[in-house]
Symmetry: C2
Subunit: 190 residues, 2 copies
Amino acid sequence: MRTPRRAPRSDALENRARIIEAAQAAFTGDPSASLQAIAKAACVGQGTMYRHFPDREALLLAVYRDELEALVAAAPLLLHEYGPLEALRRWFERLAADGRVAGGASLAVDAATRIGRPHPPIVAALDLLLRAGKEAGQVRPDAEAEEVLSLGSCLWRTDGWSTDGTTPCPERGTRMLSVIIEGLRAEARH
Amino acid sequence: MRTPRRAPRSDALENRARIIEAAQAAFTGDPSASLQAIAKAACVGQGTMYRHFPDREALLLAVYRDELEALVAAAPLLLHEYGPLEALRRWFERLAADGRVAGGASLAVDAATRIGRPHPPIVAALDLLLRAGKEAGQVRPDAEAEEVLSLGSCLWRTDGWSTDGTTPCPERGTRMLSVIIEGLRAEARH
DNA sequence: ACCTGAACACCGTTCAAGT
DNA sequence: ACCTGAACACCGTTCAAGT
């Protein structure tokens, strides 16, 4: 049933590319930019936007495809270089850092996770890290990737910035990440 | 400057009460019910709704005022009966359980926290628990209430329900809470 | 002093009509 | 086969006009 699919028309490809480009720019300016505004910026009818990307999440995945793939690829590399817990910490640190810049890939991770339908490759990457930690006896055996991802999704809430109106407070994220990592340790079950 | 404030007109009071009642019903049906629909259900013009509650969060706080106060009051009681960590666990458990029923008080906590402007009494209650834990040497000294609340706000995401389409999975929440509690312990700093 | 409801500026989504 | 853009059913928010 392979769905042979003839090559798409060239104008469709151009439109698709222009939409992604416009979305990229829009999201870095305002993570909650409207699809309507993006369509206009891309000089494309709303219907066209809709045909290519049935919803906001699909567009986010397309825009941050490369970053997401890089993040997935980073998991085994980190495991090769560090112990499981440190690899886990650095992986999340990277994801969170991505979220602190406007319009990072964590935008896509967050949207998908919040819908309750997290991006499978991301879950798989996290699962790889957790599995390695469990085999090394360093991570509690009952930790599940989806849950940990849900826990981690608070790390890139840049809203908590400035009750005082000043600093972006990156050490808050570091501290929260530290709580998660310590909480995942295999020791001291009570 | 005490703002002496004459007693409000009786029709204003009635409207206010009717709005809260309608919102209560609407939120338990659908947590993201529109203000417009609530105004209509309360037989009130949109302007009236707006006068009483300038935004969605104000309405949420009013609807769940009693539950929020009960939650705040529970903190010292739990501390009286249990050790700091167990009290902390039960406090969050209660907040999360509240979130699993449709339209619980955690709706208000969540909305406020997500805006980056968490409900101060709730933060104070959590701070009380953390402070007791630190004094007992059981909670890591760098834990901050706002951060922990932000971490905990993933506990009542009922979205992760059913990838398999079946169970409400309350043990997922228990497990995530356990990770947070263990991560807050004062031991094993690395 | 308070309420009403039309009006404004937006959303996401659909769909007949075009090429 | 793909695109366009008007149209639909909604939002939150405001504000002149009423009582």
